[in-house]
């Protein structure tokens, strides 16, 4: 094939979805000359499924992205139509923000950011193959024979690879939302020896808002409290748009039951594995047959559109059946479908083929990030894109790879799960996947990660200075409360009584008083005022830190133990066949995953504690041999 030289870059990003934009921005902002290629410039960071960002775990990821200098938080803060803080009645560890997005505005805002970023070239084009020489990625070739050269390529093609849309018995090659699917690239990756699996996901119908009878549904309003994902956001959108809640019923279920065989999911047409946590409505009826009703949330897709996303009715039933079933739902009797729901199958890369930087083990300089790695969700994709972008640029700059561990971020949990264990269904982050949930909070993402963001050049000096001031205020106030003694004066006793506690018998430290379940920071601070009024976020940190100190300490001890094993590195050139006594299943899995540390090795499935001990002995033996070799 004769190609033409279309330009030379440091990093090329294929795709401009949620993973692609973060990858491109991070690489360019770190100083790498970056090219982004996308099928359609009007669909940048589009949300082909629900118009929503955040939620438990995911919302925390968005904040982590922000603390590392990513973009998602800032753009959603400018474009949300509703924002809520979830789990407010539970503990601080599981609180999270969720926003309803104006998906069209989101696209425009993100595009604007990309267009105005230095070092970043944005171009429309379909990549059909990679240029790979001797296991090193060298660039990409588009279908128009443009050859772009770069030693680092990040593939973020989402669900486009050999994408196939299914509605009833209709099946056609397509990416989401009737965009072109990417067939050649998928075949090419396979030729390069990359292992792929087939996954499936789906989306519900969209209906016209004018045709919904909202009087039969329950309103789900936003909150009139100013909230934002990004630590840099100062303007809050208070004019919010509500969502609406309605339910399926036995009529809905009967129609689904009667037509099950015509669903692409159940007729055998769908071959890919779908996620359990995001089932189609057919799945819900089949698996939970006795449940009398299921929730259906009606979510506006934006301020300037009448399209409404029908959350809860994701389906691959024929359009006629979709209409019939939907019309049984109160409020939707006369609703007009504007787009039908569909299932989509696609190729994804088995993620155990990746290093924790998301670079492929087999091809130097080739990264994959986002849904192509078997995840689902915009936030999961964005986080991977960011990390791949950071690390691809790191190779250009010659800096150390940035790998977050399981105690630093949900991003670390996800990436470790992916590359160490792989996934046999589309992977979604859940808070229960994190061992150190209490440490990975929504409120302290900045405290956990801003230092790293600053070190890699993605956090501005101005923001970093502010951050350090905040950190200092928190530390000082904690110290102060730990040293101040409160005597059982009338004032103190009254304050305790008002909070519903039992009076003091003797003087206590202010910090200990705050540890009492009924006491809040503000009440304690009334009794011993700080020199100057502290900002809300500082007060919150002080309260959480002191109130849960016992639990936090316990988690930190566990983290300490975990880190010890993470710090025992496995040499690159280790030959697992040479290790005596390791079980053969463990050997095979270790050869495949090639963990970087003994800690990571211990999480590989099929590797038991004895194998870990043996591995440890083997590594030490190597070290000793090296030392004695040097001596001789």
């Amino acid at each position: 094939m004769s190609t033409f030289d279309a330009g030379h870059y440091d990093v090329i990003v294929i795709g401009a979805g949620h993973a692609g934009v973060e990858a491109g921005l991070a690489a360019a902002r770190r100083g790498a000359k970056t090219l982004m290629l996308t099928l359609n410039l009007d669909m940048i960071a589009f949300m082909p499924c629900n118009p929503s960002i955040g939620g438990p775990a995911k919302g925390i990821v968005v904040r982590e992205i922000d603390a590392l200098g990513g973009e998602m938080a800032k753009v959603i803060d400018k474009t949300y139509i509703q924002m809520r803080l979830l789990n407010t009645r539970k503990g601080p560890a599981v609180r999270a923000l969720r926003a309803q997005a104006d998906k069209h505005l989101y696209v425009q805002e993100m595009k604007k950011v990309l267009e105005n970023t230095e070092n970043l070239t944005l171009r429309q084009g379909m990549v059909k193959e990679l240029i790979v020489e001797d296991g090193q990625c060298k660039g990409v070739v588009t279908e128009t024979k443009a050859a772009y050269y770069a030693d680092n390529v990040i593939v973020t093609t989402g669900t486009f690879m050999r994408g196939k849309v299914l509605i009833g018995d209709l099946a056609y090659e397509s990416g989401p939302n009737n965009q072109r699917s990417s067939t050649k690239l998928s075949e090419h990756l396979e030729e390069l020896g990359i292992e792929m699996v087939r996954f499936k996901t789906g989306t519900p119908m969209r209906v016209n808002s004018h045709t919904i009878d909202y009087s039969k549904t329950e309103i789900q309003p936003g909150e009139d409290v100013p909230r934002a994902f990004s630590y840099e956001t100062t303007e809050f959108i208070m004019d919010q748009v509500p969502c609406w809640l309605t339910y399926t019923n036995e009529h809905t279920h009967k129609i689904i039951d009667d037509n099950l065989s015509s669903s692409a999911m159940y007729s055998g047409m769908v071959k890919g594995t779908g996620p359990r946590y995001c089932p189609s409505v057919e799945d819900k009826i089949v698996r939970f047959h006795d449940k009398p009703r299921h929730q259906v949330f009606l979510e506006p897709e934006g301020r300037n559109t009448e399209e409404v996303y029908v959350q809860g009715l994701s389906t691959s039933l024929p359009e006629g059946v979709q209409k019939e079933m939907m019309e049984t739902v109160p409020g939707l009797e006369n609703a007009e479908i504007m787009r039908a729901g569909y299932a989509i199958e696609y190729d994804s890369v088995t993620p155990t083929q990746l290093w924790p930087t998301l670079e492929l083990k087999a091809i130097n300089g080739l990264f994959t990030a986002g849904q192509i790695n078997g995840t689902s969700g915009y936030e999961e994709a964005a986080a991977q894109g960011l990390m791949a972008g950071i690390n691809a640029a790191g190779k250009v700059l010659g800096t150390e790879p940035v790998i977050l561990d399981r105690s630093q971020a949900y991003i670390g949990v996800m990436m470790d799960d992916l590359v160490t264990k792989g996934t046999d269904e589309p992977y979604r982050l859940l808070t229960s996947r994190a061992e150190y949930r209490l440490i990975l909070r929504h409120d302290n993402a900045d405290l956990r990660l801003t230092d790293i963001g600053y070190d890699i050049g993605l956090i501005s000096e101005e923001r970093y200075t502010k951050f350090q001031e905040k950190k200092q205020l928190i530390e000082e106030e904690i110290k102060r409360l730990e040293s101040v003694m409160l005597k059982p004066t009338d004032e103190v006793q009254t304050a305790i009584e008002q909070a519903g506690g039992s009076p003091l018998k003797e003087a206590v430290r202010a910090s200990d008083l705050l540890r009492r379940p009924e006491m809040k920071y503000d009440a304690v601070a009334e009794l011993t005022k700080p020199d100057k009024e502290l900002p809300e976020d500082v007060r919150e940190q002080v309260e959480i830190h002191l109130k849960y100190s016992g639990y936090i300490q316990k988690s930190n001890e566990q983290i300490e133990r975990m880190r010890k094993m993470e710090n025992k590195k496995i040499p690159d050139d280790i030959d697992y066949d040479d290790i005596h006594g390791i079980a053969s299943e463990a050997r095979d899995r270790l050869k495949e995953v090639r963990p970087l540390s003994v800690g990571q090795a211990s999480r590989v499935s099929g590797v038991n504690p004895a194998d870990v001990s043996i591995l440890l002995v083997y590594i030490e033996q190597g070290k000793i041999a090296k030392v004695s070799g040097d001596e001789a």
Binding site: N87, G91, R276, Y277, F297, G581, P609, I614, V617, E620
Partner: protein, 458 residues
């Protein structure tokens, strides 16, 4: 390197008169000192040995008289501080010592861990690395094997049930957290959680007290010798006691102090029940009455039913067989040196599945076979065991204790009205600890439970 302190029994159990419980690690001396009454171990010179008493700091009870050697790093096997506690070789006593050490905050060593540390600390020659790896592999495989075999079916089932109860509770909390908008899932409150965890806590406590393995650990395998007068019960007992250095314990609290004797039969700790009864009269049933003998039988884990080869089967014998139905029984046909009058066909018929051993105890014949039969019953297989069996048992008890503590932490959190997701940390930990007992790996089953119990998703 590893910085915690570990301990294990480092001599084959039940084989020598003296057993050694070894501690290794930075805290070895301090921990041992906490339970040792004698010289201040932290003050003594390295590589010295001291006489003293082990006292349980919780109850202030004397546990054992011991000799303790203190060896400070680096001139030790592991190149860490090492303390060796020399105690009675009996399984029960060495077990008690190890438990005491573990209670003081020392971790039970993994199989081969002393050797591993010795190697990692450069104590063992590089050329022996392969041998070290082999040893870890062999010891671990054996320990796992034994742990599985030792796991009483009922115990394992019970723990699985407890885990399932906890899992359902945990899953519900997780659903509340990860799917807060789902109003049709019942909200797990601290009150509900307290109810659920209380039940589990009670069960764990009960398990700790009465689980068969746990009981055997602390008390030995309760063994009753039954049979008509003059079949040779007391000579059987004397033979067992004679061959296997007995430890006699006075058990106060009954009208007449019942004497129990402990013997070790090939590593199996036997607690011979009401030996005084046998000694005095040669006839348990006759002396203390049917009621009492029933009670003795009930208490027993193992029945040694003795018959006389030189006598015909009587109605009384048949009644005895009825009384021990469904229990672990070894039938001993004694006095095989006499001419046979016993109807062996009929015996096989009523003995059913029970093992039958022929002996002539006075002639010292058949005792080996009897001991083999006892160890087979205990290990449910032909298992040449040593410390391993024993260690895996201690492991179970230790894990159960840890699970109990974690659950108590959770209950305390609930009482203090901590948020449910914070309390959850300890409930989940309990579930994981119980999982370690039955050898279940952790993470994925929670998600499986989550998605099978609740209908979730957009």
């Amino acid at each position: 390197m590893d910085t915690d302190t570990i301990s294990a029994i480092s001599t084959p159990v039940g084989e020598g008169a003296i057993a050694i419980v070894r501690l290794s690690g930075p805290e070895a001396v301090a921990r041992a000192n906490k339970i040792f009454h004698g010289k201040e171990l932290e003050q003594v010179a390295s590589h010295t040995i001291h006489y003293g008493k082990l006292i349980d700091p919780k109850s202030n009870e004397l546990v054992e008289e011991v000799m303790v050697s203190v060896m400070r790093a680096p001139k030790t096997f592991t190149r860490e501080d090492i303390v060796e506690i020399n105690c009675h070789g009996g399984l029960v006593s060495v077990n008690r010592v190890l438990e005491l050490v573990l209670d003081s905050g020392v971790r039970l060593a993994e199989p081969g861990e002393f050797t591993k540390r010795a190697f990692l600390n450069g104590r063992i020659d590089l050329s022996q690395a392969e041998a070290v790896m082999d040893l870890i592999r062999a010891k671990t495989d054996r320990a796992m094997n034994v742990a599985l075999k030792q796991m009483d079916g009922r115990l394992s089932q019970l723990i699985q049930q407890l885990r399932q109860q906890l899992l359902e509770t945990v899953a519900q909390v997780e659903v509340n957290i990860d799917y807060p908008e789902y109003d049709d899932v019942e909200e797990m409150t601290n009150e509900l959680m307290i109810e659920n965890t209380k039940k589990v806590h009670q069960e764990i406590e009960r398990l700790l007290q009465t689980a068969k393995q746990g009981k055997i650990l602390r008390e030995g395998l309760g063994t009753a010798i039954v049979g008509r007068p003059n079949v040779g019960k007391s000579s059987l007992m004397n033979a067992l006691v004679h061959e296997n250095k007995a430890i006699v314990t006075e058990v106060p609290g009954t009208t007449r102090d019942v004497i129990e004797e402990y013997v070790n039969v090939r590593g199996v700790p036997l607690r011979l029940i009401d030996t005084a009864g046998i000694r005095d009269t040669e006839d348990l049933v006759e002396k203390i009455g049917v009621e009492r003998s029933r009670q003795v039988l009930q208490e027993a884990d193992l029945i040694l039913l003795v018959l006389n080869y030189g006598d015909e089967l009587t109605e009384e014998d048949e009644k005895l067989f009825e009384a021990v139905q469904g229990m672990d029984v070894i039938v001993i046909v004694n006095k095989t040196d006499l001419p046979r009058k016993l109807d062996m066909d009929r015996l096989h018929e009523i003995a059913g599945e029970h093992t039958i051993v022929n002996t002539a105890i006075i002639e010292e014949e058949g005792i080996d076979q009897l001991e083999t039969a006892i160890s087979e019953i205990f290990f449910e297989g032909d298992l040449d065991t040593g410390d391993m069996t024993y260690v895996s048992n201690v492991r179970h008890v230790q894990l159960l204790n840890q699970a109990k503590e974690a659950l108590e932490d959770a209950m305390r959190g609930m009482e203090e009205d901590m948020p449910i997701d914070i309390v959850q940390i300890d409930v989940r930990r309990t579930w994981e600890l119980l999982g370690e007992i039955v050898g279940d790996s952790v993470s994925d089953s929670l998600l499986d439970q989550l998605f099978s119990q609740f209908c979730l998703g957009k």
